[in-house]
């Protein structure tokens, strides 16, 4: 307990130093939010398993480490960045090293007029109107301690602004590279994506690491979709298996906008994702798909909340988990259909395959429906690979390992096939092959 108090004390004491180092940044209006957030941080407690929202995710291993905020002085060579890029993937590239924007490693030339892809630091300092309008509007720091920590120490992250009626053909690849180099580093990228009316964009948030170090990423992404906007969001987490990862994604959808989220993750030591989507106008649509692959002692936690606040909106959600060894999965999918949200369609499904007797999943769909003319379904399964299918494949001459790999592929295939970025889709496919059967790839 003392350790935890010490951690809190350390951050509270260092807030002033942080403020002083912001130079002119502390005069920006959002600095009041930082100050308010540090106040909330001082009042909030780190969650324990007694908190309903953290019932199955014990973060005490995270709190054992004393993570220190990363400095902005890390240098990475461009050749090292290339390993994280995909073949045949023509994209704008924004690279962050331990949460700080690296302009020399990024490729952001020839942006269409009015479009901004930059560091949040830059957007704050240039007083971009979207920052004033949307920063901290959706991510509630008054209730979530990690969000308050991120907000209080907001310095950098990615910023995307797409004006109205702008269709961005090239996807935006945001690459968060962690480099711990033996230090216990805390990175807190803060992202803000403001997408205008009738605009269209594809964004990849990609978390990687250059070593297998112990570090902590505490990230917050806020996404605002204007009327009729179409946003494809993909998150790919493939980083150090010793890392800690907490990420809150808040999405607000205006009338008739369409948001899709695909989350592919190989997990860290402990990963916690909160993904909240709010329909703020009629006719919106959201698709939340995910695939998590865990092994050894990993813990992967997904909490989603879809707030059907308006009528005529549709949400699809399908998360799949493949868990090996002693790893654990947590899925909590809340769907709230408010009183006025008639004609809501909401579908939710969470399926898990357990590859060992010691792996464990806690899954909980939570539907709260206050409207009467709606269509909502949910389902959750936890099971092993189907023995009848296994026997069938083997009876055709296919060996145990290959049969297993085929069935794992088959299980994950619908989520993988739904990834809207083809190179990422192929890559996700190869991750699966790499993980479960090298031989199968040659014959596939």
């Amino acid at each position: 307990m003392d350790e935890i108090l010490n951690i809190k004390k350390w951050y509270l004491e260092n807030f002033e130093t942080f403020q002083n180092n912001l130079n002119g940044g502390s005069r920006q209006p959002i600095n009041n939010l930082r100050k308010d957030a540090i106040l909330k941080f001082s009042e909030l407690n780190f969650p324990t398993t007694k908190d309903e929202e953290w019932k199955y995710t014990n973060i005490s291993p995270l709190l054992k480490h004393h993570f220190k905020p990363a400095s902005a002085n890390y240098k990475v060579e461009k050749t090292k960045v290339d390993q994280f890029r995909f073949n045949d993937f023509e994209a704008y590239l924004a690279v962050f090293i331990n949460g700080t924007f690296a302009p020399d490693l990024s490729e952001l030339e020839n942006l269409p007029g009015g479009v901004v892809i930059s560091s949040l630091d830059n957007a704050i300092n240039s007083s971009h109107p979207a920052v004033q309008k949307y920063f901290s509007k959706y991510a509630d720091y008054s209730r979530h301690i990690f969000t308050s920590l991120n907000t209080a120490f907001t310095k950098d992250g990615s910023f995307i602004y797409i004006p109205d009626r702008e269709i961005i053909e090239k996807p935006i690849h945001i690459l968060f590279i962690s480099l711990s180099d033996g230090e216990k580093i805390l990175s807190q990228p803060r992202n803000l994506f403001s997408i205008g009316k009738n605009s269209q964009v594809k964004i990849l948030e990609h978390f990687v690491s250059l070593d297998e170090g112990v570090y902590f990423t505490n990230s917050v992404s806020e996404i605002s979709a204007g009327e009729n906007a179409i946003i494809s969001h993909v998150k790919l987490q493939e980083e150090s298996k010793n890392s800690f990862h907490i990420h809150r994604i808040e999405v607000e959808l205006e009338r008739s906008s369409n948001f899709s989220s695909h989350s592919i993750s190989l997990g860290g030591s402990i990963s916690r994702n909160d993904l909240n989507v709010r329909f703020n106008g009629e006719g919106g649509e959201s698709t939340l798909n995910g695939l998590y692959l865990t092994e050894r002692e990993q813990l992967y936690d997904t909490h989603t909340m879809i707030d059907h606040a308006k009528p005529y909106c549709t949400s699809h959600e399908h998360y799949k988990g493949i868990l090996d060894n002693r790893s654990r999965g947590v899925f909590n999918g809340k769907v709230m259909v408010r009183k006025d949200a008639q004609k809501t369609n909401a579908f939710q499904e969470n399926n898990n395959i357990i590859l060992s007797a010691e792996a464990l999943v806690n899954t909980k769909p939570q539907l709260e429906i206050f409207a009467d003319d709606v269509k909502c379904t949910h389902g959750a399964t936890i099971g092993q690979l189907d023995m009848d299918s296994m026997f069938y494949l083997k009876s055709r001459g296919i060996g145990q390992d290959t049969a297993r790999a085929i069935l794992i592929h088959a299980f994950a295939s619908d989520v993988i096939k739904s990834i809207p970025l083809e190179p990422v889709r192929n890559y996700a496919e190869s991750i699966l092959t790499e993980k479960f059967n090298k031989q199968f790839r040659n014959e596939h």
Binding site: K394, R396, G397, I398, I406, L407, A410
Partner: protein, 255 residues
């Protein structure tokens, strides 16, 4: 080809097969008939290597090898094939992928070269014609939302591609209309040669009008109680299984 000696099999402590003896030579077609619950499917599943069954006694030799000690995949690689009574649906695995992987694993075990994409495609196109399957089935998931007839034809199609030495057709006829039955039987007849053998497991005589067996065996309560030439099947069709059951009781009494 195959020799079964005094095979006893139990599941959950209940004995299903109570001493099966059967010898099948190269080029022969045997029919195993019997009423429901007689152990026909158990025999088929045990030969394919289903692990849930406990073999309490007996032995099975396949091409000189101890079949019961082999894994299901090794049995298939050695040339054993089971056409399932209830083929499994496997969403997410395409028919082509299954066949290609299976064929190449079998070829590898035999020390043969793997087929390249063009050779493979040529082979499956040729074999599809045997059972009059539509080519669109190839890209579909294995048996997923296939009709009953398509599933059964797909089993025979797999048999055609994998070219086994010994095939067991487990009630491949049940649930088929007469046209589909003829297609399936026709396909099987084209695959039959002097070098391979077929065991037709069936409840009804109907299929045996089209696939003519050399021998017919009647399985009842876990034992083969009567064997004879193909005419035995017709006699069963006429008189029903009760006739055999009566005989079996008499046998038991006279014993």
């Amino acid at each position: 080809m195959l020799e079964i000696k005094d095979l006893h099999v139990s599941i959950d402590g209940k004995e299903i097969l109570k001493g099966i003896n059967l010898k099948i030579n190269k080029g022969e077609v045997h029919a195993i008939m019997g009423p429901n619950g007689s152990g026909k499917s158990t025999l088929a599943q045990v030969l394919a290597g289903r692990e849930e069954y406990e073999i309490t006694k007996g032995e099975v030799t396949f091409e000189g090898m101890n079949l019961l000690e082999m894994s299901p995949e090794d049995r298939a690689r050695a040339g054993f094939f089971l056409a399932f009574q209830y083929p499994v649906e496997i969403p997410g695995v395409s028919n082509t992928n299954l066949l290609k992987t299976a064929l190449n694993e079998i070829r590898k075990a035999k020390g043969e070269e793997q087929l390249d994409a063009i050779e493979f495609l040529g082979l499956i196109k040729e074999k599809m014609k045997l059972v009059e399957l539509d080519q669109s089935l190839l890209s579909r998931s294995v048996n997923d939302s296939f009709s009953g007839g398509e599933k059964k034809r797909n089993e025979i199609f797999q048999m055609a591609v994998l070219n086994p030495k010994l095939s067991v057709l487990d009630e491949t006829d049940s649930g088929l209309d007469i046209d589909a039955l003829k297609i399936v039987a026709n396909g099987v007849n084209k695959l039959k040669s002097d070098d391979n053998s077929i065991i037709v497991v069936t409840h009804y005589q109907r299929l045996l009008n089209y696939i003519i067996p050399d021998y017919v065996h009647v399985l009842y309560k876990g034992k083969i109680i009567k064997s004879g030439p193909k005419e035995l099947a017709l006699e069963l069709e006429d008189k029903g299984y009760d006739w055999i059951k009566e005989n079996s009781k008499e046998l038991a009494v006279s014993n």
